[in-house]
């Protein structure tokens, strides 16, 4: 029991203190030093704004739209990315055709295309979904391809010695050994997807957390602006933590 307490203390105490300390400094700074509601909002005011937005139902409208855009784009990009990665790993020709586009677009800050997509597809959700797809697709594709390509020669040979067919080798060795890579690509996609949603909404939208942030900024409503940012941060943290848990459950052999 004491060792458990000690472990908690060792692992979480410093982090918790650091966060609480940061919040305290922020609170004091915005109350006494900056003390200008047009520049900064105190954590207590941000919290109050979140509660008020949630009560009025406005928060859920924004969260709902952003979540829908994110989910649609993320799921489509994941499926496409995994399929494209599979294709590139199994055919040299597909790889040669796709590689320059993927390398080029992965390195390009494609988020800059967001205004263009809004021009083309309007300010509804689909322009945002497209931006999400564009940002999530590449890390998933690249990781899937890399995971399949780095399948251990020795494990493949072991299966071959038992007379396994290429199909059996794929499902029993290649796919499971690529799984940690695919999951890492999907995890990378979460952060990129959230950025895509918010930035695309900033350029033009009717609702969504990006919209909430931009309209709060226009109105110098600092508590609501920070409220939007905090909600996004929490969403990012929760999803990433969920993924870490998923990795531990699905691919425990890569840990320790």
């Amino acid at each position: 029991m004491t060792s458990f307490v000690q472990a908690v203390r060792r692992n979480y105490l410093a982090g918790t203190l650091s966060v609480l300390g940061g919040l305290l400094i922020w609170e004091l700074l915005s109350r006494y030093l900056v003390a200008n509601a047009l520049f900064l909002a105190a954590p207590s005011q941000v919290f109050a704004a979140i509660v008020a937005l949630a009560r009025s139902g406005e928060l859920w409208r924004h969260v709902g739209i952003s979540a829908l855009e994110f989910a649609l784009g993320y799921v489509i990009a994941s499926i496409l990315g995994i399929l494209l990665g599979l294709g590139m790993a199994s055919s040299e020709r597909i790889k040669q055709i796709a590689q320059p586009w993927i390398s080029g677009l992965y390195a390009t800050p494609t988020i800059a295309l967001a205004p263009l997509f809004i021009l083309w597809f309007g300010i509804g959700i689909w322009s945002k979904v497209l931006v999400v797809i564009l940002l999530v697709l590449f890390p998933v594709t690249i990781n899937t391809e890399a995971g399949l390509r780095t399948t251990s020669e020795r494990l493949t040979e072991m299966l071959r010695s038992f007379g396994a067919s290429p199909r059996q080798i794929f499902f029993k060795v290649s796919l499971p050994s690529a799984l940690p890579f695919i999951l890492a690509g999907l995890k990378l996609g979460i952060g990129r997807g959230l950025i895509a949603v918010v930035v695309a909404e900033l350029f033009g939208s009717r609702a969504g957390l990006g919209r909430l942030i931009s309209q709060s900024a226009d109105a110098f409503n600092m508590p609501e602006l920070f409220a939007g940012v905090v909600v996004l941060a929490v969403a990012g943290i929760l999803m990433t933590a969920g993924f870490t848990w998923l990795e531990k459950t699905l691919v425990p052999w890569t840990k320790d």
Partner: protein, 258 residues
């Protein structure tokens, strides 16, 4: 009676490199035959050709008089590195052979459990490879090859990554298992004493190209205990084989340094 394994005029080239030249062998059912030689003599290539993992450039490998065309359920391969699938438990790893052949029913499962007991892994069926020691992982490697109930075991330096004590334990365990099942074994090793201890016959290969230098019959009584390694007869065999390959080994050591 046809020998279990017949090898006739087996040669293998990798481009300009002549890996094996004109290897011939007849192995009777239940024989334990080792292949020793300096590194680069092609002994692993030899085993891979018998396994059907690698085609021969010329010559042929016959099993029960029928030529080998690829891997098959009549041969179980025990790898140098254990090659266990890290996401599978010990039992699931050992079951991979039957599973690939489309036989993973309760009967196969029971048989595999018995094999795990035979190799001394009772109680570890649900463990993952990362939770096992090197010696235990090699036991799974062996059980996995035995799980397809092969008539021939092909073993590629299976104990080379183990420490000296564990290796000697594994040698006696292998003897015990072999005496129970009497499979035909082709065992590749670079340890001369291991080859003499285990085998009925030791094939000594020379390098560049890999070719059969001498086939040494080991006329030591069975069952053999570890203590036999200290008898003069045993030491004579080891000395004899060592003298056959000594110059080659020195040459290969120098080459590796360069």
């Amino acid at each position: 009676m046809t020998p279990k394994v017949t090898i006739r005029g087996l040669s293998k080239r990798f481009g300009a490199l002549e890996a094996l030249r004109d290897i011939n062998l007849e192995a009777g059912r239940g024989a334990f035959i080792s292949v020793v030689g300096p590194s680069g003599c092609g002994k692993t290539t030899f085993l891979r050709i018998v396994a059907g993992l690698e085609p021969a450039s010329s010559g042929e490998v016959l099993i029960d008089g029928r030529p080998v065309r690829g891997p098959g359920g009549d041969r179980g391969f025990v790898f140098q590195s254990d090659n266990l699938l890290p996401w599978r438990t010990v039992l699931a790893n050992a079951m991979i052979g039957p599973e690939v052949a489309g036989r993973s029913g309760p009967q196969e499962r029971r048989r595999t459990l018995d094999l795990l007991k035979l190799v001394g892994l009772e109680g570890f069926e649900g463990y993952f490879p990362r939770q096992l020691s090197g010696g235990m992982r090699q036991r799974v490697n062996l059980a996995r090859a035995l799980a397809i109930d092969p008539e021939i075991l092909l073993m590629d330096e299976p104990f080379s990554s183990l420490d000296a004590q564990t290796r000697e334990i594994m040698q006696t365990e292998l003897m015990r298992i072999w005496e129970q099942g009497r499979k035909t074994v082709l065992f590749v090793t670079h340890q001369i004493d291991e080859a003499v201890f285990l085998s009925d016959r030791v094939l000594v290969l020379a390098r560049r190209p890999g070719r059969l230098q001498e086939s040494v019959e080991i006329a030591l009584p069975r069952p053999r205990a570890l203590a036999i390694k200290r008898t003069p007869e045993f030491v004579r065999y080891v000395d004899h084989i060592w003298r056959l390959i000594e110059d080659d080994v020195r040459a290969s050591v120098i080459e590796e340094k360069v």
